[in-house]
Structures are given as C-alpha cells and as structure tokens.
Symmetry: C2
Subunit: 336 residues, 2 copies
DNA sequence: AGAACAATTTCAACCGTTTGCATAACGAAA
DNA sequence: TTTCGTTATGCAAACGGTTGAAATTGTTCT
C-alpha cells in the first residue's frame, strides 16, 4: 500500500513542526493566517487525510458501532439495519455488521469481535439459540454501552427497544374476531423470548375480551416457512379446523395461505390469516396478507439513537436502563 | 469508559518491562518459561485484550473491509452481504456497511468514509445515479483494493464479480419461447449499467435464435414495482398485448403478474412471466414465479474472496484486473 | 537599552503495542 | 580473575496525531 500523506510530510515540506501543522489544520487561533493558509493549501494539494487510527488510539474511541444480528437476509432485520445505518450516517458513525446466523457459538464469537474492534457501542438482537447472556454482560462490564432490540428477555440490565408485541397481537386477533372468526390458531415464537410471550398474551387477551374460550391446543410453536406449512396442512385437514390464524411472522402466515390453497380452501372465505412484520412479501403474495406493521426501520432508528445517547452521556453512575416500545399498526389486506 | 487493561498494567504488577510482557504473550523464545506463564496467568486473570487500535496503527491495516451498497433492504443485496460476511468472518475480517440509497452524492460521501476509516479494501455496487466513477478511482489511486460486484460499467480498471446476465436473460427468454410465447416484452435495467446491456443482449439473441423478430418497442426501461405495474397495466390493455414478459428483477415480474390479475388475465395461461433474482418473494407469490437464480450469496462470497486475494498479494506491479462471472440458473415455477 | 508582553512556533509527552539493539546477569572456559 | 557466550530482560524508537508548557520572535513602552 502506498504510504499515506502524513502531517509530518507537510511539516517537512514547509519547514514547520508537526504541532504547527496540526493546529493550522484545525484553525487553532494561535496560528498565523499566513501559515494556516500555506498548510491548508499544501494539505489539499497532497490530498492529506488524517489517519483515523492514530486519532482513535489517542481518543480511545472509534466512532464505530457494532451490530450483532441473527440474519441479514430476513426482511425485518434488513429494515432495521437500514434504520440503524441511517442514524449512524447522519451522526458520522460507521456500522460494523456481525451475523450470528442464529448460532449461539457464533454469537459469542461476535461479542469477542466487537471487543477486539473496540467499537464504541453495540446493538444486539440475539439468536434463537441463546439462553445464556453472560457474553453480553461481559460487554456491559467493560462499560461498552449495549442496546438490545426486538429480541429481549426479562432481567437484562441494558437498554431495550422493542415493538409493542402485545398490542400488535391484540390488534391482529381482535381483527380476526371482528371479521367473524370463532376458532383462532396461533403460530408462536419461542416462549423464552419476550416477543413470544407478549404476542401470546395479546392473542390470549383479545380472545378473552370477546369471551372466546382460550384453547392452548391451538397454540403451536413454529416460526419458519417450511415448518409452518407442514403444520398448517395437518391442522387444516382436521374436521374442526380453525377459521383464523395469527402467525408470529409473515413467512409463517404465507405458509398457512399456501397450505390452505393446496387443500382447496379459500382465503379469506374459509380461512383468514394475519401475519406480523409487514414485509415486502406480504403485499406480493396472493391474496395480499393482512399483517401487523412492526416498523423495522423506526425500530432500528430508535435503537441507534438510544445508543448514541448513551455514548454522549457521562453521568456517573450511568442512568438506569431504559426500555422503548414502538407501537405497531394493523395493515388490513385481502387475507382477512 | 472504564480504562482497558494494557500491557503496561501487567508489566508494572509483575515488575517487568512492556517489551517482556509483549514477547511473553506471543511465545517469543527469548522469554523464560517462568515469566511467560506468570505473564499469561495475570493477563488471563485481568481479562487483558490487546488494543486493536494500537496494533492497527502500527501495522497500518485494520482487518476491516468496507462495503458500499445501494440498499440493504433489497433481497438480492442482503443475500450478497450474507455471502460477504460469511467469508469475512472465516478470515477474521470485519465488515463495515455503507448504504448509498441509490444516491450519487451519498455514495461519494461513503467513499470518503471508507478512506477515513482506513479499511483494507472495499467492495462496491454503485448507485443507479452514478455516471462518474472518479470517486472510486480515487480509492484505486490510494492503492486500496476495490472489487465491484453486480453493477459494473465498461472501462473500469478494477476487479469485478458479476452474474452471467447474458446467459440468464437468454435462459429466461428461451424458456418463454419454448413455453409457446410469440411476443415477448422485456422490462430492462438502465442501459448505462452492463447488467442492463447484457440482459438486453441475452433477450435479443434468444429471440434471434428462434427467428423471432426483435421489436425494440417491446423493451421498457423500468425496474421498480410501482412503475412496472403501471406500465404493465397499460401494455396489457393493448389489443396486440405480449404473451410473455421477461423482467429485470423479481419485483417487476411480480408487478406484471399483479397487473395481469387486475385485468382478469390468467398467468401463465394468458401471459407468462419470468423474473430475475430468485428472491424469497418469488416462491411466495401466486402463481409462484419462474425466475433466474442470481446466486447472490455466492456472488458475495466470490467478491469477498477476490478482495482478500488482492489484500494478500504483494506483486509489484499488481496483477491486472480480473473479472469473475457467476453462472445463473433457471428456476421454473408456475408463472410460465 | 532593557523590560514587559503578545504572537507564533516548537518541544516533548502521550495513546498501546512491537521490535532491533543494547545490556545485565551468570556460568563456563581460558 | 578475565573473557567469552548464553540467556533473559530492558531501552527506545516507531506508528500518526494532539496538546500543555516552554521557547522563540518581534513589538512596544519606559
């Protein structure tokens, strides 16, 4: 690699000391206008760019935030990254992305990577496999601010940004009931995640509100396309099949629609389906999917803003953890 | 932020010099076994982690690669990021992501950001707006290896990784013809991008091969959902409407299907449609979309591998630019 | 002329780590 | 005892930039 132009190069060519050059470049009042302009002109001519690494070493900060995320390919997460990057960009921060691929082991490695890379703060949505959170607590012990988003558990001593899962689930199930459903199944997320618990609670309470008996046999833990489709096929073959489905994400919801079509059931006439996410696919499938908009972009923005706030704060001891809840919205389409 | 444990802390506690500690930690033969173990034990006890920034400053490398990409939310690009991150992870590199949001101005800013962050190399897919490439050439002048992927233009003196757009387009149109289409329209990408030119060429040659007259009035420059839908609606209303469509991406293809449905045309009976990308949505829409698999993940992998190869190489002068072409594959589904 | 002061500029230390070279300690050979 | 070789450790410079304090220069006043 070509040697970079340094402040020293400029200093030598101009017969000045590095300190003078440094000050001239940042408009320090002590420097005479003559030297200031001379330095700046030469710097521009040579294409001088300050060496961030050197600055980082001195300031012990990198203006970089680490992002640990399960899967970039998932629409919801890419929307979040989008929001994060937006805020980071506007505040002159860079984002380092680490995928856990839903693997606990890899996620632990990722936490090491962010430590090695000396990021200023970390945004985390942990993997489905993760049950132990000590690797994240190690970050907190190192006083690196951490903000968790979307996936969250109880008892985590750190900032959190989540969608209002309870409200979203309630909206979804309420909507199904208003459309006439009597027997509503729920495809749920793992129950150790708050997102799983809260959506189930919303489902539960919406049924209760309408005096519908809550049958836990209608709750199935599944959140992938393939699994959901298989399950839906078997459920829809039963004589007392549900007439409504509330799925934990759009993929599962679309899988249900596909399964219904295979069994020659009409959506929404025979079976109504609501998803959760409002992904691109939701408006592309047939019939278009009614779903809960999780506002991934906003969630990412908020998470990043909260992290930046932490990075600026210098109160000792630090403010106690905060939880931000993003309201969701029902997007009614053709599947209900 | 809590002060990090440094080599100096260890040195003082053990009454040694920093050099001895440094050497002990990396098993330098000069160090006596006794001190070596003492140092290592204390380091482990204190949770010492080498300060990457300091190492970076010394080695003038960051083991970080910059990624400049139009839109993370687009499935194809997130698949590519996935592939890139995979290779980077395995080789102990980190990835910094910068979105251009299809904006030239922001893209120029992004190139500054990667320079400031002193990444070791850069992966680029430029924005649709970009017609001038001097900002990238500035990177090349700074001898920062750059690999372009997917979007590429002629005369770029840098490595490139692209899908075989010509072959993919040929496969797609050939398939439509074999399924009986006589009048095939093409929704194309901007013609200043090779991806636009090559797909058009593939379309062209497949028609020629079957002795079908090439009518340039059937080629429309559009690659977004909304625009494509509007266009498809007006085209399909015409008396001599096409009986086949080859779209430059899945979004546009699905828009055509939607438009056909709105006009009570059946897919594939009345109109056949082929996309390009093989996104998630392609297998979720109704009918499932026949498309060309672009192997985004592999494309990302290859691009990253090529960059890493450049980073390792030290031949002077450097090897001349290479172009890698990834074969595509037809995925026949229900829309044809 | 000498003092006092302001305006510029330089010196040197520092951030954390590595590394070529010098040096200390010690036993063995002369 | 001196000298030579080992072996183990320390010194100091370097990476590129910042910054408090010291030094230089020039100007003005007495």
């Amino acid at each position: 690699m070509k040697r970079q132009i340094t402040i020293k190069d400029i200093a030598i060519k101009l017969g000045l000391s590095t300190s003078t050059v440094s000050r001239a470049l940042k408009d320090h009042p002590d420097i005479s206008p003559k030297t200031r302009t001379a330095v700046k002109e030469l710097a521009a001519l040579l294409g001088y760019r300050p060496n961030m690494i050197a600055l980082n070493l001195r300031s012990n900060s990198t203006r970089t935030i680490g992002l640990i995320i399960p899967e970039i390919e998932h629409y919801f997460f890419s929307a979040i990254i989008n929001g994060i990057e937006e805020v980071a960009y506007k505040n002159d921060y860079s984002v380092m992305v680490f995928q856990s691929n839903e693997s606990y082991k890899r996620e632990v490695n990722n936490t090491h990577a962010v430590l090695t890379n000396r990021v200023d703060g970390v945004l985390v949505s942990f993997s489905k496999e993760t049950l132990d959170f000590s690797h994240f607590m190690k970050l907190v012990e190192n006083e690196i601010p951490v903000v968790f988003f979307d996936r969250v558990v109880d008892g985590l001593l750190a900032d959190q940004v989540v969608a209002d899962d309870y409200q979203g689930a309630f909206l979804a199930v309420n909507h199904l009931i208003e459309k006439g459903c009597k027997r509503i199944a729920h495809f749920s997320a793992p129950q150790h995640l708050l997102i799983g618990k809260n959506r189930l609670a919303g489902y539960h309470d919406a049924l209760l509100k309408h005096n519908i008996h809550v049958d836990l046999n209608l709750v199935f833990p599944t959140d992938t396309f393939d699994e959901s489709k298989k399950l839906a096929l078997s459920i829809l073959k039963q004589p007392n099949r549900p007439d409504g489905f509330f799925a934990v994400n759009d993929m599962s919801a679309i899988a249900i629609i596909k399964a219904a079509h295979e069994l020659n059931l009409r959506v929404p006439e025979d079976v109504k389906v609501v998803g959760f996410e409002n992904s691109k696919s939701a408006s592309l499938c047939e019939p278009e999917l009614t779903t809960i908009d999780q506002f991934g972009f906003e969630l990412g923005r908020e998470a990043c803003l909260m992290l930046l706030r932490r990075l600026k704060e210098n109160s000792q001891p630090p403010l106690k953890p905060e939880r931000k809840v993003i309201k969701t919205r029902l997007v009614a389409r053709k599947s209900t």
